[in-house]
Symmetry: C2
Subunit: 419 residues, 2 copies
Amino acid sequence: MGTTIQKMMQSMSQRAREASRLMARAHSEAKNRALREMAALLRQHRTEIQAENSKDVAAAEAELGAAKIDRLRITDRVLEDMATGLEEVAQLSDPVGTIGKMWTRPNGMKVGKMRIPLGVIGIIYESRPNVTVDAAGLCLKAGNAVILRGGSEAINSNSCLASILQEALKKGGLPGDGVQVVSTTDRQAVTELLKQEEYIDLIIPRGGESLIRFVVENAHMPVLKHYKGVCHIFVDASADFTMAEAICMNAKVQRPGVCNAMETLLVHEAVAESFLPRVAKSLSEAGVELRGCQRTQTILPGMKEAAEADWFEEYLDLILSVRVVPNMAGAIEHIEAYGSMHTEAIITTDYQRAHQFLQKVDSSVVLVNASTRFNDGYQLGLGAEIGISTSKLHAFGPMGVEELTTNKFVVLGDGQVRE
Amino acid sequence: MGTTIQKMMQSMSQRAREASRLMARAHSEAKNRALREMAALLRQHRTEIQAENSKDVAAAEAELGAAKIDRLRITDRVLEDMATGLEEVAQLSDPVGTIGKMWTRPNGMKVGKMRIPLGVIGIIYESRPNVTVDAAGLCLKAGNAVILRGGSEAINSNSCLASILQEALKKGGLPGDGVQVVSTTDRQAVTELLKQEEYIDLIIPRGGESLIRFVVENAHMPVLKHYKGVCHIFVDASADFTMAEAICMNAKVQRPGVCNAMETLLVHEAVAESFLPRVAKSLSEAGVELRGCQRTQTILPGMKEAAEADWFEEYLDLILSVRVVPNMAGAIEHIEAYGSMHTEAIITTDYQRAHQFLQKVDSSVVLVNASTRFNDGYQLGLGAEIGISTSKLHAFGPMGVEELTTNKFVVLGDGQVRE
């Protein structure tokens, strides 16, 4: 059985590599046609998809909690979102083949960088079957072949979606192997996939921290990932309180279970006594539990103390740690010590501090007077996104279509040799 | 001893991380002053550097071949090249802090990508002590801290150079820990360094294939590398023979021991009989041994046969494998099967084929009518380079100062929250 899975993963990866050469050369028109075909076929096969999905949901009901089952279910709405998502990706401009500029060397050679697909991308994810469709669409747009490995709880849904996506590729004149879904739920498949560095150029894991750590430790090829988002807002002494309160509420309450929600609020000591009671009241009314440093506890008596571990915590819940800091340098020091390089915002009316915060904070998205919730490819104007990277190599922050490509150098000469 | 080295590597990495925050915020002026100070101090301490270098050379004479000893020796010329190299890096424009463009979102937020240093870079290399100076200079210019681990045969030279570089950093008002050299020759130091993913953002190995494979297999952080350069030239049916011959000679003979030298010549069958005897004569006169496919052997009787293994070989020597191909598609198939994604060139007068070759060949540098020897950061106009990447993530091709940086997103708002 072990050898079978090994052979299966190797064969899938080889076929993906072969398909990737054709995908890389496909014209924008062919890719966009395939994307729209995918959308049409998803709508057309709704009954079939939902029947397969029901099997997954029924099996999961014995094992998973309601929230996870909810993420697993392909409702009419979820299916329509998948289809329109694909149509939106078809509308994005195609990065492949673009050359930003060319320059001329003293010997007359023209040199430029041409954007090209990465090749074969492996995506390993949990639960939500919409990732199957979204990721396939973005990888296709960027001219890559993709191998998808979803959670075992979604195996029937994912296999069904895969066959539809492959049908659309073939209808559009592209190789069906451009999108493949791993059809076994055996965990060894992941381990074997991570060894195919000869055929797979990049792995993107999406899911919990343990899945991501497993992938990072076992992958023989590059990995783009983020572990967690411990996002901070620093309310400066000069902040407009109304704005600060609105942004804090949005960042904490609007959708607390996501990576760009605020987890720690840092407040300048000069305004702690005036601002904290006000924001604490609104947060508490919204059901947020506060955990504070000693100074926060003095200002807001009776609140729970934040332990050292709290500052590292990604709650993903209606919990917020709060710390009073002596100045902006103190806020930045806190972020450097406990942050995850994901998203940080300053609320200020002081030009100098806004400028300094933008320069000094080492996170994938740094905002002035806006909610941390904007760290999202769509919100920042990249179109769809495939995830958020908190490591600096290749991509730092939300990854859109362009981040699924790279550049090669092209040189136009007329006989130049090196002296 | 094991624990001591572990602690030493951890401590160096931590200090590098701290220094990197100050390096990242240093103004261009401060970095350029430090670079010029480095050049001045190298010239000033010439006698001392050469005395330390003599110890390495004396020790190496028992063990290494003449070529390796030659690479180890810091002659007056080598020292002056190091110094002028640093002065040239000071002249390059500073990528840190630049924002290519900003765009406005429908809600009025301004969004842009700001170029920032990577953080801490580890460089693991063999032999040549000039890498110590070149790499330190480029990393400094890009605002990074660097940890250098040279070969044990250059330990005295590298330690001496390191103390001079650190003195220059301090004179320029930058932290001495911005450039550190591992002072033990124990191999365990490399293994421990590769585990410091918390403090080191990127590892660049430079040296033989076995060193690079060791680094790739053991590093917990991203690695940028190239294993080998099996570079091809395809002489098309429409090629200008005089140009083709000049380029082939330059690519094979001018400096055969480097990664961008040609290793395999592919010739269109329509011109094989007319072109091959001509180029073979010049190559043979220059001392190049030819190994050919069967058709090449028919045209050039008496030559050695190229075995299957020859097509994969990076000779780094005056040896060339030669194959006759039926057409450009055959040439590209050969490159896909045996190439290393390093450098490929076509010699042609046909517009359509030039266009197709540029599009289809998946290598870090693809040239039309120019020598493969131009795959070099300086030659392509990037300024100095720190190596050539043949993997596609982050950088593909020669890596200059800009490739030692990344981008973060900056957002300027006036109170935006997410709906």
